[in-house]
Amino acid sequence: MNFDELERALASRAKPRPGAALERRVLTALSREAARERRNTLFALAACLCAFVGLGAWSARIGPLEAHTNESATVVVVSRFLGRDPSGAELARIPRIAPLRGASFSLSGPEGL
Protein backbone atom coordinates (compact mmCIF):
# COMPACT_ATOMS: atom_id res chain seq x y z
CA MET A 1 0.00 0.00 0.00
CA ASN A 2 1.55 3.35 -1.03
CA PHE A 3 1.00 6.73 0.63
CA ASP A 4 -1.73 7.83 -1.78
CA GLU A 5 -3.73 4.66 -1.19
CA LEU A 6 -3.23 5.02 2.53
CA GLU A 7 -4.39 8.64 2.51
CA ARG A 8 -7.44 7.64 0.45
CA ALA A 9 -8.21 4.86 2.93
CA LEU A 10 -7.89 7.28 5.83
CA ALA A 11 -10.06 9.87 4.12
CA SER A 12 -12.73 7.27 3.41
CA ARG A 13 -13.22 6.39 7.08
CA ALA A 14 -16.68 7.16 8.45
CA LYS A 15 -16.50 10.82 9.48
CA PRO A 16 -17.74 11.68 12.96
CA ARG A 17 -20.40 14.35 12.51
CA PRO A 18 -21.66 16.78 15.13
CA GLY A 19 -25.35 16.34 15.88
CA ALA A 20 -28.04 18.99 15.76
CA ALA A 21 -28.12 18.97 19.58
CA LEU A 22 -24.53 20.20 19.69
CA GLU A 23 -25.33 23.03 17.30
CA ARG A 24 -28.22 24.13 19.53
CA ARG A 25 -25.99 23.89 22.61
CA VAL A 26 -23.21 25.94 21.07
CA LEU A 27 -25.47 28.63 19.61
CA THR A 28 -27.38 28.95 22.89
CA ALA A 29 -24.11 29.30 24.81
CA LEU A 30 -22.92 31.97 22.34
CA SER A 31 -26.20 33.82 22.59
CA ARG A 32 -25.95 33.85 26.41
CA GLU A 33 -22.38 35.06 26.19
CA ALA A 34 -23.38 37.89 23.83
CA ALA A 35 -26.18 38.90 26.23
CA ARG A 36 -23.73 38.86 29.15
CA GLU A 37 -21.31 41.07 27.22
CA ARG A 38 -24.09 43.55 26.38
CA ARG A 39 -25.12 43.64 30.04
CA ASN A 40 -21.54 44.24 31.15
CA THR A 41 -21.17 47.06 28.61
CA LEU A 42 -24.33 48.71 29.92
CA PHE A 43 -23.10 48.42 33.51
CA ALA A 44 -19.76 49.93 32.55
CA LEU A 45 -21.49 52.83 30.75
CA ALA A 46 -23.77 53.42 33.73
CA ALA A 47 -20.77 53.41 36.08
CA CYS A 48 -18.97 55.95 33.86
CA LEU A 49 -22.07 58.15 33.79
CA CYS A 50 -22.42 58.01 37.58
CA ALA A 51 -18.75 58.86 38.02
CA PHE A 52 -19.07 61.76 35.57
CA VAL A 53 -22.18 63.16 37.29
CA GLY A 54 -20.59 62.67 40.73
CA LEU A 55 -17.42 64.41 39.66
CA GLY A 56 -19.47 67.28 38.20
CA ALA A 57 -21.44 67.66 41.42
CA TRP A 58 -18.29 67.56 43.49
CA SER A 59 -16.50 70.15 41.38
CA ALA A 60 -19.57 72.39 41.44
CA ARG A 61 -19.52 72.26 45.22
CA ILE A 62 -15.82 72.97 45.44
CA GLY A 63 -16.08 75.80 42.96
CA PRO A 64 -13.36 77.23 40.81
CA LEU A 65 -9.95 77.54 42.38
CA GLU A 66 -8.12 80.73 41.68
CA ALA A 67 -4.43 81.04 42.18
CA HIS A 68 -3.47 79.76 45.58
CA THR A 69 -0.34 78.48 47.18
CA ASN A 70 -0.27 74.72 47.52
CA GLU A 71 -1.02 75.02 51.23
CA SER A 72 -3.86 77.50 50.94
CA ALA A 73 -5.41 75.65 47.99
CA THR A 74 -5.75 72.62 50.24
CA VAL A 75 -7.46 74.72 52.90
CA VAL A 76 -9.84 76.23 50.33
CA VAL A 77 -10.78 72.85 48.87
CA VAL A 78 -11.34 71.27 52.27
CA SER A 79 -13.31 74.17 53.68
CA ARG A 80 -15.55 74.33 50.59
CA PHE A 81 -16.11 70.62 50.84
CA LEU A 82 -16.84 70.71 54.58
CA GLY A 83 -18.78 73.98 54.51
CA ARG A 84 -16.59 75.31 57.34
CA ASP A 85 -12.95 75.93 58.09
CA PRO A 86 -11.06 72.71 58.77
CA SER A 87 -9.40 72.24 62.09
CA GLY A 88 -5.64 71.84 62.31
CA ALA A 89 -6.07 68.14 63.09
CA GLU A 90 -8.24 67.64 60.01
CA LEU A 91 -5.74 69.40 57.83
CA ALA A 92 -2.93 67.33 59.24
CA ARG A 93 -4.73 64.16 58.19
CA ILE A 94 -4.94 65.21 54.55
CA PRO A 95 -2.05 63.91 52.49
CA ARG A 96 -0.70 66.51 50.12
CA ILE A 97 1.98 66.92 47.58
CA ALA A 98 5.21 68.25 49.02
CA PRO A 99 5.08 71.97 48.18
CA LEU A 100 7.68 73.43 45.92
CA ARG A 101 9.66 75.95 47.85
CA GLY A 102 8.57 79.45 46.87
CA ALA A 103 6.16 78.17 44.20
CA SER A 104 2.46 78.91 43.99
CA PHE A 105 -0.17 76.55 42.68
CA SER A 106 -2.97 77.31 40.32
CA LEU A 107 -5.32 75.14 38.33
CA SER A 108 -5.01 77.58 35.47
CA GLY A 109 -1.25 77.39 35.16
CA PRO A 110 2.07 77.13 36.94
CA GLU A 111 2.16 80.69 38.16
CA GLY A 112 5.28 81.73 39.98
CA LEU A 113 7.32 78.86 38.61
Binding site: L10, L22, S31
Partner: protein, 186 residues
Protein backbone atom coordinates in the same frame (compact mmCIF):
# COMPACT_ATOMS: atom_id res chain seq x y z
CA UNK B 1 -5.98 22.04 -0.15
CA UNK B 2 -4.66 24.74 -2.48
CA UNK B 3 -2.30 27.07 -0.68
CA UNK B 4 -3.34 30.70 -0.51
CA UNK B 5 -1.67 32.83 -3.19
CA UNK B 6 1.31 34.85 -2.09
CA UNK B 7 1.49 38.60 -2.53
CA UNK B 8 3.85 38.32 -5.52
CA UNK B 9 2.34 35.48 -7.48
CA UNK B 10 0.87 37.82 -10.05
CA UNK B 11 -2.76 36.77 -9.48
CA UNK B 12 -5.37 39.45 -8.99
CA UNK B 13 -8.30 37.27 -7.95
CA UNK B 14 -8.09 35.66 -4.50
CA UNK B 15 -8.12 31.87 -4.56
CA UNK B 16 -11.23 30.10 -3.21
CA UNK B 17 -9.24 29.19 -0.09
CA UNK B 18 -8.17 32.80 0.49
CA UNK B 19 -11.72 34.01 -0.12
CA UNK B 20 -12.96 31.42 2.38
CA UNK B 21 -10.47 32.60 5.01
CA UNK B 22 -11.47 36.22 4.38
CA UNK B 23 -15.12 35.29 4.81
CA UNK B 24 -14.32 33.49 8.07
CA UNK B 25 -12.47 36.56 9.33
CA UNK B 26 -15.42 38.82 8.54
CA UNK B 27 -17.80 36.46 10.32
CA UNK B 28 -15.48 36.18 13.32
CA UNK B 29 -15.35 39.95 13.73
CA UNK B 30 -19.11 40.08 14.17
CA UNK B 31 -21.10 39.73 17.37
CA UNK B 32 -24.15 38.81 15.33
CA UNK B 33 -25.68 35.43 16.13
CA UNK B 34 -26.34 34.66 12.46
CA UNK B 35 -22.68 35.18 11.65
CA UNK B 36 -21.66 32.80 14.39
CA UNK B 37 -24.23 30.26 13.24
CA UNK B 38 -22.53 30.35 9.83
CA UNK B 39 -19.11 30.07 11.47
CA UNK B 40 -20.38 27.02 13.33
CA UNK B 41 -21.60 25.46 10.07
CA UNK B 42 -18.22 26.03 8.47
CA UNK B 43 -15.89 25.08 11.31
CA UNK B 44 -17.71 22.67 13.61
CA UNK B 45 -17.65 19.56 11.37
CA UNK B 46 -13.83 19.55 11.19
CA UNK B 47 -13.46 20.55 14.82
CA UNK B 48 -15.82 17.85 15.99
CA UNK B 49 -14.21 15.22 13.77
CA UNK B 50 -10.74 16.03 15.15
CA UNK B 51 -11.99 16.14 18.74
CA UNK B 52 -13.86 12.86 18.32
CA UNK B 53 -10.82 11.13 16.83
CA UNK B 54 -8.61 12.28 19.70
CA UNK B 55 -10.93 11.82 22.69
CA UNK B 56 -12.35 8.81 24.45
CA UNK B 57 -16.02 9.78 24.36
CA UNK B 58 -18.36 11.72 22.10
CA UNK B 59 -19.43 13.81 25.10
CA UNK B 60 -15.85 14.99 25.63
CA UNK B 61 -15.61 15.98 21.98
CA UNK B 62 -18.88 17.92 22.17
CA UNK B 63 -17.80 19.70 25.35
CA UNK B 64 -14.48 20.62 23.74
CA UNK B 65 -16.19 22.04 20.64
CA UNK B 66 -18.63 24.08 22.72
CA UNK B 67 -15.91 25.41 25.00
CA UNK B 68 -13.72 26.29 22.04
CA UNK B 69 -16.49 28.23 20.33
CA UNK B 70 -17.08 30.19 23.53
CA UNK B 71 -13.37 31.03 23.74
CA UNK B 72 -13.30 32.04 20.09
CA UNK B 73 -16.32 34.28 20.63
CA UNK B 74 -14.75 35.96 23.66
CA UNK B 75 -11.50 36.51 21.77
CA UNK B 76 -13.18 37.31 18.46
CA UNK B 77 -11.00 40.37 17.85
CA UNK B 78 -7.89 38.18 17.76
CA UNK B 79 -9.77 35.43 15.89
CA UNK B 80 -10.79 37.95 13.22
CA UNK B 81 -7.17 39.02 12.78
CA UNK B 82 -5.87 35.47 12.39
CA UNK B 83 -4.23 34.85 9.04
CA UNK B 84 -5.76 31.36 8.89
CA UNK B 85 -8.94 31.34 10.98
CA UNK B 86 -9.54 27.62 10.37
CA UNK B 87 -6.11 26.76 11.78
CA UNK B 88 -6.63 29.24 14.61
CA UNK B 89 -9.88 27.51 15.58
CA UNK B 90 -8.24 24.09 15.51
CA UNK B 91 -5.35 25.35 17.63
CA UNK B 92 -7.87 26.67 20.17
CA UNK B 93 -9.58 23.28 20.09
CA UNK B 94 -6.27 21.54 20.70
CA UNK B 95 -5.66 23.72 23.76
CA UNK B 96 -9.15 23.01 25.05
CA UNK B 97 -8.62 19.29 24.63
CA UNK B 98 -5.31 19.47 26.47
CA UNK B 99 -6.95 21.35 29.33
CA UNK B 100 -10.01 19.09 29.46
CA UNK B 101 -8.17 15.82 29.38
CA UNK B 102 -4.52 15.97 30.37
CA UNK B 103 -4.17 12.44 29.02
CA UNK B 104 -4.91 13.71 25.55
CA UNK B 105 -1.82 15.82 25.16
CA UNK B 106 1.38 15.81 23.23
CA UNK B 107 3.16 14.17 26.15
CA UNK B 108 1.30 10.91 25.76
CA UNK B 109 3.27 7.74 25.33
CA UNK B 110 2.40 5.12 22.78
CA UNK B 111 0.64 2.97 25.36
CA UNK B 112 -1.40 5.93 26.53
CA UNK B 113 -2.39 6.65 22.97
CA UNK B 114 -3.81 3.16 22.62
CA UNK B 115 -5.71 3.58 25.87
CA UNK B 116 -7.05 6.95 24.73
CA UNK B 117 -8.63 5.46 21.62
CA UNK B 118 -12.40 5.06 21.83
CA UNK B 119 -12.67 1.64 23.43
CA UNK B 120 -15.99 0.65 21.87
CA UNK B 121 -14.62 1.40 18.43
CA UNK B 122 -11.44 -0.47 19.16
CA UNK B 123 -13.37 -3.69 19.73
CA UNK B 124 -14.78 -3.73 16.23
CA UNK B 125 -12.17 -1.58 14.60
CA UNK B 126 -10.80 -2.65 11.28
CA UNK B 127 -7.07 -2.98 10.84
CA UNK B 128 -6.68 0.68 9.94
CA UNK B 129 -8.25 1.94 13.16
CA UNK B 130 -6.14 -0.42 15.23
CA UNK B 131 -3.00 0.72 13.44
CA UNK B 132 -4.01 4.34 14.01
CA UNK B 133 -4.64 3.76 17.68
CA UNK B 134 -1.16 2.30 18.05
CA UNK B 135 0.55 5.41 16.66
CA UNK B 136 2.37 7.75 19.06
CA UNK B 137 -0.07 10.47 20.03
CA UNK B 138 1.76 13.35 18.40
CA UNK B 139 1.85 11.54 15.06
CA UNK B 140 -1.80 10.52 15.29
CA UNK B 141 -2.71 14.08 16.22
CA UNK B 142 -0.80 15.48 13.23
CA UNK B 143 -2.43 12.96 10.93
CA UNK B 144 -5.99 13.56 12.17
CA UNK B 145 -5.58 17.34 12.15
CA UNK B 146 -4.21 17.28 8.61
CA UNK B 147 -6.89 14.97 7.26
CA UNK B 148 -9.97 16.03 9.22
CA UNK B 149 -9.02 19.69 9.38
CA UNK B 150 -7.97 19.72 5.71
CA UNK B 151 -4.93 21.81 6.61
CA UNK B 152 -1.84 22.69 4.65
CA UNK B 153 1.46 21.77 6.30
CA UNK B 154 2.02 25.44 7.15
CA UNK B 155 -1.36 25.55 8.87
CA UNK B 156 -0.72 22.22 10.57
CA UNK B 157 2.55 23.63 11.91
CA UNK B 158 0.67 26.65 13.21
CA UNK B 159 -1.88 24.46 14.97
CA UNK B 160 0.80 22.26 16.52
CA UNK B 161 3.10 25.16 17.36
CA UNK B 162 5.98 23.72 15.35
CA UNK B 163 7.62 24.64 12.01
CA UNK B 164 5.83 23.43 8.89
CA UNK B 165 8.69 21.00 8.13
CA UNK B 166 8.34 19.38 11.55
CA UNK B 167 4.59 19.08 11.08
CA UNK B 168 5.12 17.52 7.67
CA UNK B 169 7.64 15.03 9.02
CA UNK B 170 5.28 14.00 11.84
CA UNK B 171 2.58 13.41 9.27
CA UNK B 172 4.91 11.47 6.99
CA UNK B 173 6.22 9.37 9.87
CA UNK B 174 2.65 8.58 10.87
CA UNK B 175 1.90 7.41 7.34
CA UNK B 176 5.09 5.32 7.25
CA UNK B 177 4.27 3.64 10.55
CA UNK B 178 0.74 2.96 9.41
CA UNK B 179 2.03 1.45 6.19
CA UNK B 180 4.48 -0.75 8.09
CA UNK B 181 1.79 -1.97 10.47
CA UNK B 182 -0.74 -2.59 7.73
CA UNK B 183 1.87 -4.18 5.50
CA UNK B 184 2.98 -6.43 8.35
CA UNK B 185 -0.57 -7.48 9.05
CA UNK B 186 -1.11 -8.73 5.53
Amino acid sequence: MTPAPGPFDGSTEPSPAAADQARLRRLAASQDEQAWAELYQRLAPAMFAVARRLTRAAGDAEDAVQQTFLQLFRARAAFARAEAPRAYALRALRHTLARQAPRVSASLTEDDAVAAAPSDELERAPELDRALAALPFEQREALELKLEGELTFAELGEVLGVPADTAASRYRRALEKLRERLGGAR
